[in-house]
Subunit: 496 residues, 4 copies
Amino acid sequence: MTTVGHLINGETITDNARTQDVYNPSTGKATKKVALASVETVEKAIAAAQAAFPEWRNTPPIKRARVMFRFKELLEQNADHICKLIGEEHGKISHDAAGELQRGIENVEFACGAPELLKGEHSKNVGPNIDSWSEFQPLGVVAGITPFNFPAMVPMWMFPLAIVCGNTFILKPSERDPSSTLYIAQLLKEAGLPDGVMNVVNGDKESVDVLLSDERIKAVSFVGSTPIAEHIYATANANGKRCQALGGAKNHAIVMPDADIDNAVNQLLGAAFGSSGERCMALSVVVAVGDEAADTLIAKMQEGMKGLSVGAFSDPSNDFGPVITQQHKEKVIGYINSAEEQGAKIVVDGRKPNVEGYEDGFFVGATLIDNVTQEMESYKAEIFGPVLQVMRAKTMEEAMKLINDHEYGNGTCIFTRDGEAARFFSDNIQVGMVGINVPLPVPVAYHSFGGWKRSLFGDLHAYGPDGVRFYTKRKTITQRWPSSGVREGISFAFPS
Amino acid sequence: MTTVGHLINGETITDNARTQDVYNPSTGKATKKVALASVETVEKAIAAAQAAFPEWRNTPPIKRARVMFRFKELLEQNADHICKLIGEEHGKISHDAAGELQRGIENVEFACGAPELLKGEHSKNVGPNIDSWSEFQPLGVVAGITPFNFPAMVPMWMFPLAIVCGNTFILKPSERDPSSTLYIAQLLKEAGLPDGVMNVVNGDKESVDVLLSDERIKAVSFVGSTPIAEHIYATANANGKRCQALGGAKNHAIVMPDADIDNAVNQLLGAAFGSSGERCMALSVVVAVGDEAADTLIAKMQEGMKGLSVGAFSDPSNDFGPVITQQHKEKVIGYINSAEEQGAKIVVDGRKPNVEGYEDGFFVGATLIDNVTQEMESYKAEIFGPVLQVMRAKTMEEAMKLINDHEYGNGTCIFTRDGEAARFFSDNIQVGMVGINVPLPVPVAYHSFGGWKRSLFGDLHAYGPDGVRFYTKRKTITQRWPSSGVREGISFAFPS
Amino acid sequence: MTTVGHLINGETITDNARTQDVYNPSTGKATKKVALASVETVEKAIAAAQAAFPEWRNTPPIKRARVMFRFKELLEQNADHICKLIGEEHGKISHDAAGELQRGIENVEFACGAPELLKGEHSKNVGPNIDSWSEFQPLGVVAGITPFNFPAMVPMWMFPLAIVCGNTFILKPSERDPSSTLYIAQLLKEAGLPDGVMNVVNGDKESVDVLLSDERIKAVSFVGSTPIAEHIYATANANGKRCQALGGAKNHAIVMPDADIDNAVNQLLGAAFGSSGERCMALSVVVAVGDEAADTLIAKMQEGMKGLSVGAFSDPSNDFGPVITQQHKEKVIGYINSAEEQGAKIVVDGRKPNVEGYEDGFFVGATLIDNVTQEMESYKAEIFGPVLQVMRAKTMEEAMKLINDHEYGNGTCIFTRDGEAARFFSDNIQVGMVGINVPLPVPVAYHSFGGWKRSLFGDLHAYGPDGVRFYTKRKTITQRWPSSGVREGISFAFPS
Amino acid sequence: MTTVGHLINGETITDNARTQDVYNPSTGKATKKVALASVETVEKAIAAAQAAFPEWRNTPPIKRARVMFRFKELLEQNADHICKLIGEEHGKISHDAAGELQRGIENVEFACGAPELLKGEHSKNVGPNIDSWSEFQPLGVVAGITPFNFPAMVPMWMFPLAIVCGNTFILKPSERDPSSTLYIAQLLKEAGLPDGVMNVVNGDKESVDVLLSDERIKAVSFVGSTPIAEHIYATANANGKRCQALGGAKNHAIVMPDADIDNAVNQLLGAAFGSSGERCMALSVVVAVGDEAADTLIAKMQEGMKGLSVGAFSDPSNDFGPVITQQHKEKVIGYINSAEEQGAKIVVDGRKPNVEGYEDGFFVGATLIDNVTQEMESYKAEIFGPVLQVMRAKTMEEAMKLINDHEYGNGTCIFTRDGEAARFFSDNIQVGMVGINVPLPVPVAYHSFGGWKRSLFGDLHAYGPDGVRFYTKRKTITQRWPSSGVREGISFAFPS
């Protein structure tokens, strides 16, 4: 069985000490092992990144950007292979993996604009003959810790921008689906990145602890669940590091009575069940305003869901694949059970999907639940499965209050045709990413990604303009030149 | 004896429970008392700020800015009174107080540009007929905790920008010199600020603890010493607040052999001894490169220091005044003693200044110490007194290494006539604010203030563009309008 | 009878040679004379501006901005007097004059942000150890030529920004209502502007010809009618000057069947008849989509217009005042006549207004015309009077085609509740300033003003960010410092 | 003999009517013909561009950018072929052609950032519940007219940015060396650009006249000599087009007494003689401050020039190649003659270069002239040949006055080690592109290129941020949504 290793200083190596199984969630079988880095291995990676920093920092931004131009080409050329690696270990269908990869590539495209993005501000004559300007200098060695659900995209929210800003990078990807991430990192070498600038360590808590405590690490970017995000943020800060930590979500859509319901249903099917709902921007709650809208919506969703198929990643006709592990499957089903027990109505039940030939796969079918209320466990928690819950509100204000009261504030959406309702919603909703008739309002790569409330810890959002600010520190220089006589001609005398 | 109170919801009130003496450091006498807010009082302020938020947030930025235009006028009209209040409680001479106030006003001027500063980014067609834009929305109630050394300026680094961005504010100024700060805040009401938008609570740790723990406070800005800054930062973050905490400094100047020494000496006199060295940007260490430069510098500094006079704030012919307390005076003298004991040479000794008629004032005279080394206590710590220490380096690299090795990285400066030396220095020095022949490289209000290393905790610097980003949260909206038939004319039919 | 003079080098002077009458349009009587500058007078102004330039250019932007801060205060303090001067010579009612002045002041407020607005872009390491940055330097002496309809506002679109960018200025205001403009310029001196930086010459074609030909003038800003704008633009360019020339308009509103008609009518009343329609952003054509919308609109407009009163500027209960001259009154009435003759229906006829006590005033009453078509003279031309023409379209596309086919493209507006219709309109309409349910979509001072097609000649719009670019020229500096040995220590040797 | 044709609507076609010979300047032989477009052919190109516009304009910027990503790859893959085409028809050596191409590619790289560059500004609450934002929309069909000296680079200053902003393009390259330009344009199709978006017409005045007069052309970018630039600018403006027209240059370097002369000489050799001086940024005049600096410079230049070799493009060991035509060769020699006649000293004489085997080539050898004065013909005119003229000034002020008095103001440079001299120079020199120890201060692609005085006609500089502004028009939208009842729930009633 292959063991997925680490990428340190341009070489792929394996720690022998400890490994963990990597599963194919479609079959339920372990197919590879992943090396779990020891403290020494992580420190080796840090040392490599530290050594590579001075020269990389002094490389002109346009040259750093050109590595990203080449990297984009390589990602595109190797897209099929990357998607296959994602499918095998994560379970998502190839069209979904391709979408993820594309979103990742968009961040590489943004990083190609580094020379523009790194411009400082220059002020002439802040005082008489005194000038001042700002420079945005790299931090040094920075680290990223990323989740299983987007093994290609989420790392690419981080390292392309960090690297193009002049930092060197250590990535600790999820140990559940490490192969695509490692492969992508290896392409950077082919793209011309000097050894040591990008490093990958696979591992578990042991690796993370080193990254959070070693003083050579200047910043940590994290994406995962809220409790871990909170821990990472507090620990990194206590250790003098800059940190941004993205956590969980519970993304609501409001469906207004004037909405185009057919359109809304079409959009919701993908937003709720795509990637088995294992997305921090998955749309997991619909709040219908008025029973009429609710009843129509339920009926049309039920109809639409008949066409959805769950199955193995390898069949591109499937709409979505398995969840990541057996335990996670049980957890998702547990939430559905609890909703049922607490009084909700299971309209479409995906607890026992029939996936012929893949009986051991970690599948959950698309599930629709009606009459969900604020007190239910399934409402409070992030389920991270193909489960859409419907709530009913009498007014738009009531619907908005639900959203504003929830612990999370990542994404949200409204379906309406009305300009005023949309503007009131986007202005007043306590959520960082808002869609108007757009169910997955993930900002494009040249804007920034970030939730509010307990969905993000830190001042700055991920990628885009905020990402540039996160991966650089501001230096402000104020300059005055006293007359040295050179200009006035005194200096004619001196070489004599 | 007057008791300095709190400003809550537009009214100045006094807590009766606890007070503390406020001294005139020039005479050494307590002249007023300051109320120390109870938990209840702080919570009352928070409630007022919370109540004022919704309307203030919805006030158009240009209207918020106009309060700042009017505030600037009032500050200018009342400048003499403010400077007198500063002098009485802090001890700084009127010309120095006027300089401080002016720097504060510059932040108000910057805040007047709010409509420009709050512009979001708009992208048409992020996808077909899909638009996306960002808004920078206020955080809610935010707090500032400020030090004694700039009772007017440092608060104005914070609240004008926070308020103009749509937040409401609670300021906890230093309890040592609270009167000018309170007076300034009162002017805001006259400038047209609605009650509750700006509140001041005087107090001690009890108040601070409330501000750090109450969940209605969304952000905390702090300026003070590094240990407290670190504590504030960790606590605020742990409580889910955004925080920027500015700490201590040890600002070095390098004097190169090609420098214009007369000019350097002139600049250093003000930068080292102005405001008794009680500035986080005070120039407290000079590293001369080459013994020749060092000897010349020492000789000329000694000469220049003969003209300096320390004395009571009320005499504008004095160059600088007392330090803030008797304890602080003893601490400063203790550092001078320790330098002497550890082998440094006290070239000019200010330990026993003679200030006739003010024998109980907290005065320390301008002090120059030569042959200081990296191991000395007086070098490691921030003295915060009128003490300039001289070190000698053989090369520029050696001088830069000293600076880069120091715990703090607030400001630094080089004196040279040479373009290449200046560029190498500004590029490579590990300090956030760099001067080229400018000894106090405090960024102007339209740039941002911030040190590196243990001089600042947080991603974003204070005031200027970073200040705007700190006091706002990003919301990204993505919008698509499905055809509703209105445009195509279907709607002609419907009202019938 | 008073003669309104020129402001040159800080002094108000009068040319004796030639004068012209200034009328009070409310009474129809000449009440003052205005001096018409000779070539020599204009050249004197240019010489003054030229002489003042070097020092003003080197004044730090923040100091230039502070003149604008003070200027704003003075404008506010003297608002009543300015409005009275406007009313006497232009005829607009005080509330309208106050609105104009306020819009002018907003440009002064924007100019106060000069230090932020003038920031250049700084790039470190465009190549190894090579830096590059841009500076936006002032042009030198620049001129403004402004129309009668906004004697306070339009000049303030120009000179505050031009001056704060470091230029010196010569303004040639309209000779019909010169007093308020001159008075405003005089306040600048009180605000602390050095003599010669701002100059006003009153005059006619003779003055304009000097401004367009003298090579010391580096740029010309013009607002007026399209034929003159075109001439000014061609001539200024041929003489090597930068130019932006704003011309005429024909601003259409589309009223969609789903619009809130009561709201639309309310808005249209002010937008069509305010300031007697003598605004380049006046809403002069309504295109109703569908006969039902048209009929309702006509009925409600007719009703709403009953409440409108035309009369002397001195009575604040009037809605609008006279037009500027007797000839202009006749021209406006001529257009109404021609519409009637060409088949349109005069729904409300303002050709013979009854303004008791002001029988010789230049009054035209509010006029509403239905069934207007593309071929009519009254449709093709800019009437610049209180005349609203209604057209009927079957579809939104037909309505948009009307607008896109018109020679002018200044402003336009749509009334609808539908997000999709609004977005399609704003995207595809060939007009520079677009309102969604906003009938006068004049950009605020921190955005820029400009029409498309034959409404503006030049690349850059007026005021706001484009105004800053117009009043500055870009300089790009690229810098490398060869090692001079100072840093490495060779220099230790040289003074010996 | 091959005939170089036009690229229209994705097809390469040839006009049969008229052709002109294309020479290989290294051999002096005509080797190809170029088709000269008739009016009909140009109109066909315009029609194709017009037809392609609506769909291209609506293509999301990121998709337009992706064509540029792919175009960059193709340019790099085909670099050798492009350089050979340049060499054959222009005569420049391969290393020089490669440099040109690289600079062109950098503009493509910048264009890849279109989504970032096209962001408009969004303001919430410009009034209560009123929002306003700007969009930068494409102009339509735009044209570029480019010179022989950079057949690859100068077109790429224009069309990548114009196209990525959503415009469609017609390029009229120089008829002297058309092949590389056409080939590059053909690569765009392979990169995925839709037919009609990019078109090339070869031709002469007949084509240019159509481009300047046809009303479907919305903007013209031109690079060439000043008299033609001036004509193009006036004509385009008179015909209602936006225009930027870059003209001639006379770029001076000042050598200060404190300069590193060896470094300066090294830099000057390339800057003066590279590409036979046929560059608008060629360094053609050196002003030495002080006779000592002048004498040293002359001596070292003379020495350095011994190593320079002029010869055929096909031998990469040559430093530079022939000039473009026999007539131009004679013109260059004529200027050298006139300098000699007017009293200058020909220090190194390149009038009769010996290039074995290429006796009919259009070669001029590197020429150094001393004692040049302001009155000489060779000083007033742009020679555009491998001729460096030396002037002597007593002071820096005198040297700067020479530069400021010259008709042109494209580029300039100072050699000094002194910060103050450099800052004084860059601040006060009346030239648009300034080098500090950088002899060819061509701004990088993410800054903008433009001279002052008679070197550029137009407000905006070429490429970079100004290029984006040039190729787009600003639209400002102001939006308010009246309540339609949808939000409040009235709408529940209506479909019933």
